[in-house]
Point group: C2
């Protein structure tokens, strides 16, 4: 029995996916059962790496999602509003969905999964996070017997590339960004990447799956890497850290609210994430009883993403093969209309219905790194220490690292503290006559 | 509908598994549907961490595998012959199997999978390789759309612990082994670990799944770490390498025979596997189009292994829930005996039926590291170079590293060469009057 795909979009990921699906030799034999039935594109005239018969290509994407012959709609067109609309129409038409669209899932996962549950179709999204790295399926199928305490990821290749080069070359953010744009590693408008928005979409999705609940994207605290200076990278290095843009979803204890956040972070050099360099991604999962497991690989690219999209398609084909064979015949015998809902594999569906409670950032408990510029007066360190003490902030180290012009530079690393307390201390410190400025403030893993 | 487990063995892994299964809060809700129905133990009198009603425990393991009420047999008893026998009896009685037994699967996978295909039951083995790391399921379900070129793993925690300590402390193998035995990281009889046999079992299983074929365990070349000296670790370090016991299944091109092997290997420090230290495991998969992905985590331990065993159970429960719901009713309607075979999810089964063709080790193409002790005569390096040249062995570097007593020590690193050619060159070199001995010979990744 063939399974018919309707593919929305034939850009980089779409092209990579159809190339993989058409080149079956040496891959899973189940690929034989897949037919690329319709492909929706913006223009029929554009020259393409893969040629299709005229009846396969169409610019009418709506006609694909409502075509009764289509079994699975593969959404690799990108964008938000139109993709969301087509995904919902496809679900209403009874199609299973494979999507690589982190932005749509992070924003509209609630309505999409609710609709999918009502209709009884699968929504697969392996490619939405971590490019080719299998992470969604392992979380849903291999690790769901664990209580997941923390998901900590380097999930944006562009920012990791920039930070890696700043680290190895001692260059500034602006210089490396400009070069990354020339080399094609960063977009002309780099906002989505460097301001952490892409990572926020991804950690919202991972947090949702790991904790079996929904996440309001607005609740995800998000801070990008524009403020990370080469000075801080150098000090971090001396203190035994590298600076990484981490996406974190963490519970400090079972059954307490979840903290979900993206921010540049000082990572101890001995930590498994510290050695992840360049455009690679890695996601560390911590749970009970498994301990720590990490998934590492290419976070983007046509081939890697095509692998993830195709594996979702293949898993649907395998599930449909099993379910449909019995299901259709069964309902024919019972002379009933077919309802797929109660025959779905619960480990492939998204079952969550409730929103997670999220810790406000002021309540976050973490270590901090802060760099101060102060007048070169005796007793400044004592004043800093007193202010921190007034707000219950316990310090791990205070080091006068040198001078910037006439100003003394002091680097402070705290123990675990409540972020609100730390911020209150900084407000008081800012009123001290001896303080010139606080150029950097970073969290420490 | 509850799914009834018959568990064989209540040692470390069995106890960890039942503890996880009984402590359901905060884990996958599907665990609610699992009933620990029978548990087979060696003695009823032994005090245990988990207490069961008298009717659950039994010393009659055969009665479990043939009990009509049992749906899934969980084999966590270890050993080979008895476990093999019980697994086969369970399959013949129509039970699905979850096993953590790498030794049985590596040796008797052919008969077990053939039987399972005939009867139409699943055999799940996530815990057999990499402890808690999800690797079997990702290979079967997430990565099978790729052509897998290479699986390269650190899959034995004991040897990685020993090599890590030899590296960081500059200690000898014998000293670290003795200490590891005292600390419980190595067995009193360490043969299975230090001679690479455990790693060979595991790479045979991984090679089989990654390449969708069967592997004759006798075809796996296997060399342990007893001969790795602190001298070689120190030289490797200077050359930019660490020494790891790697388990490798690799094809040099599509459709050529596979090389499957376990041996200590010089790994470049920049390679993702170089930083895997202590008892951790990591498995690097290389494929087209995904590139490199790596899975890292705890390779052993009650909790990690229990996570893998339980995830297999959960996946069976999910699959059975879907298949059985329709299947049983369907066959009741058709008034037919139930045949499960054609309703199985093809990505959960082991579909391979043929043996892989394996490259004989003499045909292996790899880089080598060799250390020579020679008389301190002029022209020795020239003679070595000539011998290698006679056999088509191209050298990357030849360095006289110093002296051991009156003998000069020379370290050679080759380019990629045919192992047979390299061995022929060594045979000729051994006849040279200037050569005292060849204390080390290691492959280079």
């Amino acid at each position: 029995m063939g399974v018919k795909l309707g593919i929305l979009g034939l850009g980089t990921v779409g092209t990579g996916t159809v190339q993989l699906l058409l080149d079956k030799d040496g891959r899973d034999p189940l690929l034989q059962e897949i037919e690329i039935y319709r492909v929706g594109v913006r223009s029929l005239d554009k020259p393409r790496a893969v040629e299709f018969p005229l009846e396969v290509l169409t610019t009418d994407l709506e006609s694909i999602v409502t075509d009764p012959a289509v079994d699975i709609v593969v959404e690799v067109m990108g964008g938000v509003d139109k993709a969301r609309d087509l995904i919902k129409k496809a679900i209403l038409a009874g199609k299973h969905i494979v999507t690589a669209n982190k932005a749509v899932i992070a924003r509209y996962g609630d309505e999409i999964f609710t609709l999918a549950q009502q209709v009884g179709v699968y929504v697969m999204l392996e490619a939405a996070v971590g490019g080719g790295i299998p992470i969604i399926q392992p979380l849903k199928q291999s690790l769901s017997v664990n209580r997941i305490h923390a998901v900590t990821g380097i999930v944006n290749g562009t920012t990791n590339y920039i930070l890696t080069r700043m680290q190895t070359e001692g260059s500034s953010f602006d210089d490396v960004l400009a070069d990354a744009q020339n080399l094609g590693y960063a977009e002309a408008d780099p906002t989505t990447d460097v301001d952490g928005l892409d990572a926020a979409d991804k950690i919202a999705i991972l947090a949702s799956i790991a904790n079996d609940c929904r996440i309001n994207l607005e609740d995800v605290y998000c801070e990008g890497i524009r403020q990370v200076s080469k000075t801080d990278i150098a000090y971090a290095e001396k203190l035994g850290f590298v600076i990484k843009l981490l996406a974190i979803a963490k519970r400090s204890a079972p059954n307490v609210p979840l903290s979900v956040r993206v921010h540049p972070t000082l990572v101890p050099k001995t930590h498994p994430l510290a050695s992840i360099s360049g455009v690679n991604n890695a996601i560390l999962i911590e749970g009970d009883p498994i301990g720590q497991v990490m998934f590492f690989g290419p976070g983007a690219g046509a081939g890697a993403t095509a692998s993830a999209v195709s594996s979702d398609i293949l898993n649907l084909v395998a599930a449909l093969k099993t379910e449909r064979a019995s299901n259709q015949e069964f309902h024919q015998f019972k002379n009933e209309p077919q309802s797929q809902a109660n025959l779905q594999n619960p480990l492939l569906t998204c079952r969550h219905k409730d929103y997670c409670q999220i810790v406000p950032v002021a309540e976050l408990v973490t270590r901090f790194y802060a760099r101060f510029l102060t007048k070169d007066q005796p007793g400044v360190i004592g004043k800093l220490g007193t202010c921190f003490g007034n707000h219950g902030v316990s310090l791990e180290s205070v080091v006068q690292t040198g001078f910037q012009g006439e100003l003394a530079e002091i680097v402070v690393v705290t123990h675990d503290v409540r972020e609100g307390d730390f911020r209150s201390a900084l407000t008081e410190i800012n009123t001290l006559e001896a303080i010139d400025s606080i150029p950097s403030l970073l969290r420490v893993l």
